[in-house]
């Protein structure tokens, strides 16, 4: 949790109340990861994001621990602002720039799942289409051509914006992301970044339970989840 984070309580709610998993909140000043199995960097506007999204948060004391944890193979999951921070911190390649519309967008999107062999997506079916909302002004994924082709070749694109039937089309792209990218994983497969909010669609009354599949995927391999 950084000052300015706001999805911490939503992620915590899903982990704790919906899933019944072990939950710890980590503070940006913490230097101890409290023996967790998975670290979530939730959405928000860390430090206000006045400079550039995630640009300040990467320098938070806790981020050093998070980097080391990722290097050791620990599960790190950045959602929305968390994705932006992971990119700034160099744990994931590329960057998230202003939406092509130049406007904030809060709306439902469809995501096609391209990897189901990851600890984050093991509960999803092959090329399953998930209904997950986005809520961001800077979610337009950008990377240089070399990085992009590396990502594609190694199959590091986990989620792509698509239409309801799973077709990856321009009109299904809500923010102008290159290759309709909504989420990527590092080469080792233990650091996931995604712009959409699975914690907002983990109960039927919120419109979809597709997000819960991701939390359920993580839970068996990580009994103790930390929201960082």
């Amino acid at each position: 949790m950084f000052p300015g984070t706001w999805s911490d309580r939503d992620c915590g709610w899903v982990i704790d109340q919906v899933l019944g998993a072990d939950l710890q909140y980590l503070w940006h000043k913490d230097a101890d990861l409290k023996g967790c199995d998975c670290i979530i960097l939730p959405g928000g506007f860390a430090y206000g994001d006045y400079l550039r999204t995630g640009a300040i948060a990467r320098f938070a004391p806790v981020m050093e621990q998070v980097s080391e944890f990722a290097d050791r193979g620990g599960l790190v999951w950045g959602i929305c602002n968390g994705f932006q921070i992971l990119c700034e911190a160099g744990l994931l390649p590329g960057a998230l720039i202003r939406n092509a519309s130049l406007e904030f967008r809060c709306q439902w999107t469809n995501l096609v799942v391209e990897r189901t062999d990851l600890p984050f997506t093991s509960q999803c079916a092959e090329r399953e289409v998930l209904s997950v909302p986005i809520s961001h002004g800077e979610g337009n994924y950008f990377a240089d051509p070399a990085t992009l082709s590396r990502l594609e070749q190694r199959g590091q694109v986990v989620f792509r914006y698509c239409d309801a039937s799973g077709r990856v089309t321009n009109s299904a792209n809500p923010n102008g992301s290159t290759h309709n990218i909504a989420g990527i994983v590092n080469a080792r497969g233990n650091v996931l970044g995604m712009m959409p909010h699975p914690e907002r669609c983990s109960e039927p009354e919120l419109g979809s339970t597709d997000g819960l599949k991701l939390f359920r995927s993580v839970a068996p391999s990580a009994m103790k989840v930390l929201v960082s």
């Binding site: 109340q17 506007f45 809060c106 907002r200 919120l206």
Partner: protein, 729 residues
């Protein structure tokens, strides 16, 4: 300095009249010094003192068994059961938004959030009631205000779930930005901003104090003129990140019992927050040392410090000796806190700057001393009448429907609300776009329905009736979700009350609000008045009493959405239709007229219709419900189809004389809903309707991808959606 010798220019600067100055000298038995004059000026401004409206506001009902806190605090509070209280208030930020739309709207949102925090509540929802001049001339207002609301609300992580947007000529120079915030607090943790306990410390927390926003309250109490843009420095700048930290720190204060009270610093800054906090406790006073106030810049005089409207600041009253506990909580969020004074028992606000006495004024003089203005209301000229028989008959209902759906006041608001985060908090169980939005109270089955409403065109044509219709429609929005209307917060926007016809509008509006609220058992627990919404004496706004309403459903699993849900359902109109074309969108869009009288409202009938819908929802008979409002039955029906993505097939409509075809389709008779239900539920609904003496009529069957009235109208949903969604942005 005597009443005669005080510089008139100086008095104008602090927005005091010579008469008010005379009263001050008489009460003090001396002339006020510069700082005192400034302090009295802001607190006696219309914005803070309500001197033109107080006498009227007393007529509004403010009690019900659910009310825990009525007007007079930072926000109102009602008991919603299971140990929870809903805290809410609406407030205007019109003048700043006219001059500097982005920051004006942003700080309006920031201010109303702090009002809810001050009650100890966690804010869970924001709503914004907006009014602009016609597009495209008003684009810079629209763009700035929408971006400002999003900029603040999205960053702080409170969902913006509802509101309204209207376009009328009268708002071209005076856009209205009314922001409402709803929060939740355990009933036993509800805070009140009362400076109790002589000797207790006054701590200022949050942002440092700068020179921004000085005289903001006075500025809001003047008409806008060509020099208004020079007042841009009176508009504050918002920092939502800081407020997010302030919010979380204030929530953490719940872990300690060292805090006696929290008070927001809003209009008139430190002066009003200290005076109001002390003013709520009989005999209490306060002693402030301005040299202890953390500052953003050098060279600030005590005058600046006392009048600064720097945002994101709170005053916390702390038990003496426990300041360190509170400081530690703010420290954890990297927020400054400083003890700047203490509570006294001398009924005076004493301000010192180190050893020097700066100001010493009786609390009562500051908070209640402003002489109430005795204004005279004279009925405005009758607006143009409407000879309904002279209206040409409706030729092509399909074309008219498309034009109405594409009109600025009826088109889809999705282009706006998708720019607001309306989901954060995981509580939004009815998203924006329908009638009221609904938020679940996590950990319970309770659902809170929230809405704002006002048709100011009705209010212009008949302020008394228009105000009643605003209350009735807000209640209908709530009922359409299956929730029971619970309480109201109001934001009363008017032009210059010194003009007798404007004051008359205020009198009529308040009487109408009071009447409708009493009839529907709705207390008004908080609110705000915004006057002088006109420019250089011309282009006065319509009277615009925005009604913010909160309703409650015991089990949000029984909530209803507006969109049709299941193919094959019966689609019904509940309530009766009359030739109500006065003030309608149809009249404006199709005939270019704002004329006639607003639709007649029978509050007993309104109540009966509410009861019927609520019982039917409670018994699980209904699949959807939607309020029939602007644009009438056909527009409401189209919205049901568009929101549900299901068409409707109806037999030809044959209105019974004297009901006209145009009125049957587009008339705006109140107390009506469109509902859908499975055929098996029909008998029970029919018997309920008989019992409640409410007329129901079958319109048709849900299904297909067109809206069809046999032989009269047949339009594909795709085409209708294009008209509806293509219009705004």
């Amino acid at each position: 300095m005597t009443a005669q010798s005080v510089d008139e220019r100086r008095l104008r600067e602090v927005a005091l009249t010579p008469e008010e100055y005379r009263v001050i000298v008489e009460e003090l038995k001396r002339a006020p010094n510069e700082v005192e004059l400034g302090m009295l000026g802001v607190l006696w401004s219309e914005h803070c003192s309500y001197k033109s409206s107080k006498a009227l506001l007393r007529r509004l009902p403010s009690t019900s068994p659910a009310v825990i806190q009525g007007p007079g605090e930072n926000a109102g509070a009602v008991n919603i059961g299971e140990g929870w209280a809903a805290v809410f208030k609406i407030e205007s930020h019109n003048h700043p938004s006219a001059i500097e739309p982005y920051q004006g709207a942003a700080t309006g949102v920031g201010g109303i959030i702090r009002d809810v925090i001050a009650m100890g509540a966690r804010p869970i929802a924001l709503l914004d009631s907006l009014r602009f001049g016609p597009q495209p001339a008003s684009s810079h207002h629209v763009e700035g205000v929408v971006a400002g609301i999003g900029g603040y609300g999205n960053c702080i992580g409170i969902p913006t779930v509802g509101g309204e947007v209207y376009f009328e000529d009268c708002y071209a120079n005076n856009p209205l930005v009314n922001a409402m915030c709803v929060g939740l607090v355990r009933v036993d943790r509800l805070m009140r901003a009362r400076a109790e306990g002589t000797g207790n410390s006054l701590m200022l927390v949050g942002a440092d104090t700068g020179r921004d926003g000085i005289h903001g309250a006075s500025f809001a109490s003047l008409e806008l003129d060509e020099t208004s843009s020079e007042r841009r420095p009176a508009v504050q700048v918002g920092n939502p990140f800081l407020e997010k930290c302030l919010l979380e720190a204030c929530m953490d204060l719940a872990h300690t019992d060292a805090v006696v009270a929290i008070q927001d610093l809003g209009a008139a800054g430190l002066t009003s927050s200290v005076a109001e906090c002390a003013g709520r406790v009989s005999g209490a006073g306060a002693h402030i040392d301005v040299s202890l106030v953390p500052r953003r810049e050098r060279g600030m005089s005590p005058y600046h410090v006392m009048l600064s409207e720097s945002q994101e600041r709170m005053l916390v009253v702390v038990e003496r000796g426990r300041e360190a506990e509170v400081e530690a909580i703010f420290q954890a969020w990297d927020l400054t806190s400083a003890v700047i004074g203490h509570v006294t028992d001398d009924s005076y606000l004493t301000v010192v700057d180190g050893p020097a006495l700066v100001a010493r004024l009786p609390i009562g003089l500051l908070t209640d001393g402003a002489p109430l203005r005795r204004l005279v209301g004279v009925a405005a000229e009758q607006p143009p009448g409407l000879d309904i028989d002279a209206l040409p008959p409706l030729v092509d209902p399909g074309a008219a429907l498309l034009r109405l759906l594409a009109s600025p006041n009826l088109s889809s608001r999705r282009g706006i609300f998708r720019r607001y985060d309306h989901m954060v908090g995981d509580a939004t169980v009815i998203p924006p776009g329908g009638d009221a939005a609904m938020l679940r109270v996590k950990g319970t089955r309770l659902g809170l329905a929230v809405t704002t409403d006002c048709n100011s065109r009705y209010c212009h044509l008949d302020p008394h009736l228009g105000a009643q219709l605003a209350v009735a429609e807000a209640a209908r929005n709530i009922v359409a979700t299956g929730a029971h209307p619970l309480a109201v917060t109001d934001c009363l926007n008017f032009a210059n009350p010194d003009r007798p016809e404007v004051y008359w509008e205020m009198e009529e509006t308040v009487a109408g609000l009071a009447h409708a609220c009493r009839a529907l058992d709705l207390p008004i627990v908080s609110g705000n008045v915004s006057l002088y919404n006109d420019s250089s004496g011309e282009s006065a706004i319509y009277p615009t009493p925005v009604v913010g309403m909160v309703g409650l459903i015991d089990d949000y699993g029984k909530r209803l959405a507006a969109g049709l849900r299941t193919e094959g359902d019966f689609v019904l109109l509940i309530g009766s239709s009359h030739n109500d074309l006065g003030g309608s969108e149809y009249l404006q869009v199709e005939h270019g007229m704002v004329a006639g009288r607003p639709p007649a409202l029978d509050l007993a009938r309104e109540r009966a219709v509410h009861r019927l819908v609520l019982v039917a929802a409670e018994n699980g008979l209904l699949h959807s419900a939607h309020d029939c409002a602007e644009g009438g039955m056909l527009v409401a029906l189209a919205e049901c189809c568009l929101l549900g993505g299901i068409g409707v097939r109806c037999p030809a409509i044959r209105p019974e004389s004297p009901l006209r075809m145009d009125a049957a389709l587009f008339g705006e008779s109140p107390s009506r809903f469109i509902v859908s239900l499975p055929s098996r539920a029909m008998p029970e609904l029919q018997s309920l309707a008989r019992r409640h003496h409410v007329e129901i009529s079958l319109l048709g069957l849900a299904g297909g991808d067109t809206i069809e009235f046999e032989g009269q109208l047949r339009l594909p949903l795709v085409e209708i959606r294009q008209a509806w969604e293509g219009a705004l942005i």
